[in-house]
Each structure stands twice: as structure tokens, then as C-alpha cells.
Amino acid sequence: MKRFERVAAGIFLVIGAGAAYLALEMGYGSVRFPGPGFLPFWLAVPLTLTAAIYLLACRGPDAAARPLWERDTWRRPGLSAVIMLLFTLLMGWLGFFASTFLLFLAWLILVERERWITVGAVSILGTLGAYILFAVLLKVPLPKGLLF
């Protein structure tokens, strides 16, 4: 766990230092006339310092070496993240109807490993239900694409 925390602390440190540098580039101004970078600088500096304290607190070996993910527990969240990203990309290209159907289909097959009958029923009914709720009843403007 500490190993991952050290990595996280390192990332915070880089974000803090980078943000402080960019804040100065933006224009610090003065206390009387604060520039766009004034407050960001005074937020980035304590972020860098706190990240350094966190890094120091995470030094040394782990009392009980424990991985961040037990066995392959990362698989389902990872897979669902990829499906979500593909869904958002497809939404702009194929439109709401087809992309929503594919979202349900991919999710139920790859993430949940449901039976085919459930996959088919939920994908069709879920897509139709969402369309009726959002497009027809709530009149939400949904993305249109190649297939609507």
C-alpha cells in the first residue's frame, strides 16, 4: 500500500510544483493588485508542501505488504471504464440509440457475464426505456449520429 501511496504523493508533488510554476507564468501581480496567478500560486505552494509531508509519512517498508487490488479485482472496474469511454465516443458518432444499446450489450456480456436472454431483453428494453424517458417525456436533446 505504501508503495502506491508514495507514487500518489509523487504525483501530487509534481502537480503542485507544476501549478506553482504555471501560476507565476500567468502573472502573480501584487498583494495590492493580485494577478490571475496570485491565488493559484498560494494554493499550489501548500499543495507541494503537503505532498512532501505525505511522501515523508509514507517512507519505510510496509507493515503488511498488501497490493492495491486483490488478485484480478481491477478487471471489472477497468473493463467498465473502457466501455464507458467507448460509449461516449460512439455517442457522438452513432447517436444515442445505437450507442446506448451497445453500452448495455457490452456491459452485460463483458462485465456482468449475464445469460444471453437477459442480455437481449435488458439491452432492448433499457434502450427503449431510456429513449422514452429522456427524449420523449423529459425532452432532453440527445446526440444524433449515423444511426438514430
Binding site: 500567468m26 490571475p36 491565488l39 503537503t50 467498465s80 471504464a81 461516449t88 457522438g92 453500452l103
Partner: protein
């Protein structure tokens, strides 16, 4: 207008058919998201922000969103008691004794006392809100930019301290949230900040995208990993109305829970989760038989369930009177008010008395609705627990995506939401509390505005924050908190046991 007359006019507005309908919708949705694990009130309110905008009426939409928040406190206990999984974060501690009671065949008593305790405490919290908010609002009118800056600093600090075990992690989250709020155009000069030439970052991050990402999508990733394998207690639920013996055991727990919840709910970062945990600790401490806790003690259900409802009502006070949201769900309601063109804060009562009192009146009505929804209709919610998560998860993703897309009709926002979801999930894995990010993000803009205004007024003299008495007092409290933490850490470091193999 005094509180009594204000409340009467509020009831006149809250009792109109449309407001009653949306109060009921909010209460039903709130109970539903409370019952369903993996979808909290903050995420649900963020999902419904576009709908609240479409409603076009600030009073009606805030009545509905408020109903979702306090309704979730009622629903969370059902899942905790029957499934041993908290339906809502504030019901975590109810699992301990509630599930044991259910296994012993006393699910009805646990559910009944939980609903009644929630009703009593929720109503007591609204009574407190009715009488505390107006004088606090009148006092807060005296606040200038310096006082607001100091209050925001103190609020952020409290949120950080109360959010989790590690203060360092809390501070990191709060600072990250503040920096995220800086992305986009500078409010004074219009210069771009941290946008890296990307069109999507020119106007900064959207509150909804961040909130739905880290709370909605992030929660789904966490739930998928956990592979919830819980055993639903399916015995017939009887004996919902408490017996005299149950009353004797639980009545003081409800009173104590209401008081603890109210005071914790007032604090930024406090909210319902801390209130319920604190109430459980109090009940165990005052009990003559603390060994019964963990074995199915009714006080262990009644106290925390009362506390989280009272805290939910009380947490409206700092938001409505000072414009400082204390927890993520309240921050979402804060955003909803802004979307409707209403600025929460000391002038809310003066400028929008109809909204102020109608929302408070609706909370009295909503609590009655929720008592009915959660006592005679509890069986309905138990049925809902049987909906498989495999169907629920993609549906939640879809609702989140449409919610974010419909704000600006921009696919890039949906991509950003998913990325925030991944970041939220990883941070949660590393045991970071995510509440401070969202609170700091909301407060970041208030902080910057008040700081720059105060420096302009004082012509760059920083002593303005110390020469104004209220500001100085608030900063004094903040400094005392920091010093206390530093001294406590040093004390623990000095008194630590020597290493075993030295």
C-alpha cells in the same frame, strides 16, 4: 417577517399541488437511492440538476432536491438492516446492530424504530432550522469580503478535519479541489488559467461533471470491484410499530441522536455520516450494557438513524444563511440554486423569502411523507433490493452520461466525467476522502472572490483579515485548530513506543 409568519407563508406555497407532488417525488427518489447501494444522494441530486433547471421554478426544484437528500437518510437504514450493506454512507453504523436484529427475527422492530427515530429527529432538525436560520442570516448580513474569506478558510479546514482519519490526505484533497476551481478564465482579467490551449478547459470544469464523475461513476467502479455478495434477510417483516419496551429503550437514544446530529450537521464537513458515527459512540458510552452493542442493541439503530436525519436538516442552515455548503449533497443543492439564479447566503431570506420558507415548510411535509413511505410501505423498498446490480450499474452510467451531456450538449463533458470517475476510484482505493474535493471546488470561487475584494478594499493591506473582529475570531479558531493538530502529532511522535528490534 418573523419565523412563525414566514413559516405560515411557506406552508401556503409548499402545499400547492405542484410543490406537494415534487416533494413526494423527491421523498420517493430519496428513499429509493437510500435503499439502493452504490447511488448516494449527492450523485442523484447531480443527476437531476438538469431536470431541476427544466422545471423552471426554483421553489419546486429545490423542494424536490431537498427531499432527495433527507429522504436518502430514511432509505439507507432498510438496506443496512436487511442486507448488512449501507444503502447510504450515513447508515454504515446501522449495519452493526440492525443486521443482527434482523437475523434474530426483529427486522420489523429495527425498521420501525429507525423510521420513527428518523421522523422525530428529522422534524426536530427542521424546527431548529426554522428558528436558528433567520437570526443567523440577519447576523451574516454584516459579513464583508474579509469575513467571508475567513469563514471559507475555517469551513474548508473543518471539512478537511472531519472528513476522514488522515488530516494530510484531507488537506491534499481540499487543495486539489481549490486548484481545480482555478481552471478556466480568471474572473477579473479574463485570462485563461491552466487550460493548456484546450477548448474544453477554457471555461473551467463544471461542478456537475466533477460531482457525477467522482461520486456517481467512481462509486460504480468501487461497487463493481466489491462484487456485492450479501444475504438479504427475507423473513416476513412484522412488528413495525415499537412496543412499550422498545420505546423505553430507544426514546433517549432518539433524543440524544437528534441533538448530536443537529450540532454536527451545522459544521462544514460534519454532515450525516459523522453524526451517525458519533451518535453510536455516545450510545455505547452511556449504555449500562455496552456489551449488547454489536449483538442487536436497539439503541445502536435508533440513535444513529436519528442523528443522520437531524444532521441532514441542520446542514441546510450554513448553506441557506451563510452560503457555505457543508457536504457534497448540500453542495449540489447549492449549485441547483445558482443555476436557478438564486445566490444562497445571508441575503437569501431577504431577497427570496418565498423560497426560503417554502423549502423549510416542505421539509416538515416531506418528513411526514417519508414516515408513511418507510413504515407501511417498507415492503415495497425490500422488493427493490432484489433488482440486480448488473442491471442497475449500466442504467446509472447512462443516466449520469445524459445528465452531463444535457448541460451543454457536449460529448467532451461526458468523457471528462468518466476520467474524473477513474480518478475518484483510484483516490478512494488509496483511502482518500473525496468530500473535501467537491466542497473545496465550490468554495474555491467564493474564496477567490472574497480574497480579491478584501485586498482591493484594503489596498493590499493583509491586516484587514485581523482587524475586523469577526474575521479575526474565525481565523483565530482556524489557527488554534492547526496548532492543536501540530502539537498532538508532535506529542504522539515523542511518546511513540521504541522500535521492537532496536
Amino acid at each position: 417577517m418573523d419565523a412563525f409568519h414566514g413559516l405560515l407563508s411557506g406552508f401556503a406555497l409548499a402545499l400547492t399541488p405542484i410543490n406537494l407532488l415534487f416533494c413526494l417525488i423527491g421523498s420517493v427518489l430519496g428513499t429509493a437511492v437510500g435503499v439502493l447501494p452504490g447511488l448516494g444522494p449527492a450523485a442523484t441530486i447531480s443527476l437531476l440538476l438538469p431536470l431541476s433547471y427544466a422545471l423552471g421554478n426554483a421553489v419546486t426544484s429545490i423542494i424536490m432536491l431537498a427531499g432527495i437528500y433527507y429522504g436518502a437518510m430514511y432509505g439507507g437504514s432498510t438496506t443496512s438492516i436487511l442486507l448488512n450493506i449501507p444503502g447510504e454512507a450515513a447508515s454504515v453504523v446501522t449495519c452493526i446492530d440492525g443486521y443482527q436484529m434482523a437475523k434474530q427475527g426483529r427486522a420489523g422492530a429495527a425498521l420501525g424504530m429507525s423510521a420513527i427515530g428518523s421522523f422525530v429527529a428529522g422534524t426536530a432538525g427542521v424546527v431548529g432550522l426554522t428558528f436558528v436560520a433567520p437570526p443567523l442570516s440577519a447576523f451574516a448580513v454584516k459579513f464583508g469580503p474579509a469575513e467571508y474569506f475567513s469563514l471559507t478558510v475555517l469551513g474548508l479546514l473543518l471539512a478537511t478535519y472531519l472528513s476522514g482519519k488522515s488530516v494530510v490526505k484531507g488537506i491534499l484533497m481540499a487543495l486539489l479541489g481549490l486548484l481545480l476551481a482555478m481552471v478556466g478564465r480568471d474572473p477579473v482579467t479574463g485570462n485563461e488559467r491552466y487550460s493548456f490551449g484546450l477548448f474544453i478547459l477554457e471555461d473551467g470544469f463544471d461542478f456537475l461533471t466533477l460531482g457525477m464523475g467522482i461520486f456517481g461513476i467512481g462509486e460504480i467502479f468501487t461497487s463493481l470491484e466489491a462484487q456485492m455478495k450479501a444475504e438479504l434477510v427475507t423473513t416476513r417483516i412484522t412488528g413495525l410499530w415499537p412496543t412499550l419496551a422498545d420505546w423505553a429503550v430507544a426514546k433517549w437514544a432518539i433524543v440524544r441522536g437528534s441533538l448530536v446530529g443537529f450540532f454536527v450537521g451545522l459544521l462544514p464537513g460534519g454532515g450525516a455520516v459523522i453524526a451517525s458515527l458519533l451518535s453510536y459512540a455516545v450510545e455505547k458510552r452511556v449504555s449500562k450494557h455496552p456489551e449488547r452493542f454489536g449483538e442487536g442493541a436497539l439503541e445502536g439503530v435508533a440513535g444513529p438513524e436519528s442523528a443522520n436525519n437531524s444532521a441532514a436538516s441542520a446542514s441546510f442552515i450554513p448553506m441557506l444563511t451563510l452560503g457555505i455548503p457543508g457536504n457534497p449533497a448540500i453542495a449540489m443543492i447549492f449549485a441547483a440554486l445558482l443555476i436557478q439564479g438564486v445566490t444562497p447566503g445571508p441575503f437569501l431570506l431577504k431577497d427570496h423569502p418565498d423560497l426560503f420558507w417554502a423549502v423549510i415548510a416542505s421539509m416538515y411535509i416531506g418528513n411526514v411523507m417519508l414516515l408513511v413511505l418507510n413504515l407501511p410501505l417498507v415492503g415495497l423498498w425490500v422488493q427493490m433490493l432484489k433488482v440486480p446490480y448488473s442491471i442497475l450499474a449500466p442504467s446509472i452510467v447512462l443516466i449520469c452520461a445524459i445528465g452531463v451531456y444535457s448541460m451543454k450538449n457536449n460529448i467532451d463533458d461526458v468523457v471528462m466525467m468518466v476520467l474524473f470517475g477513474v480518478v475518484g476510484y483510484v483516490l478512494r482505493k488509496l483511502q482518500f476522502e473525496l468530500g473535501p474535493i467537491l466542497l473545496a471546488f465550490v468554495l474555491g470561487r467564493i474564496l477567490e472572490r472574497s480574497l480579491r475584494q478584501a485586498l482591493l478594499i484594503s489596498r493590499g493591506d493583509l491586516s484587514i483579515f485581523l482587524t475586523k473582529p469577526i474575521s479575526a475570531a474565525l481565523l483565530g479558531i482556524a489557527a488554534a485548530m492547526i496548532l492543536c493538530t501540530v502539537f498532538m502529532s508532535l506529542y504522539r511522535y515523542v511518546r511513540r513506543p521504541p522500535p521492537a528490534n532496536a
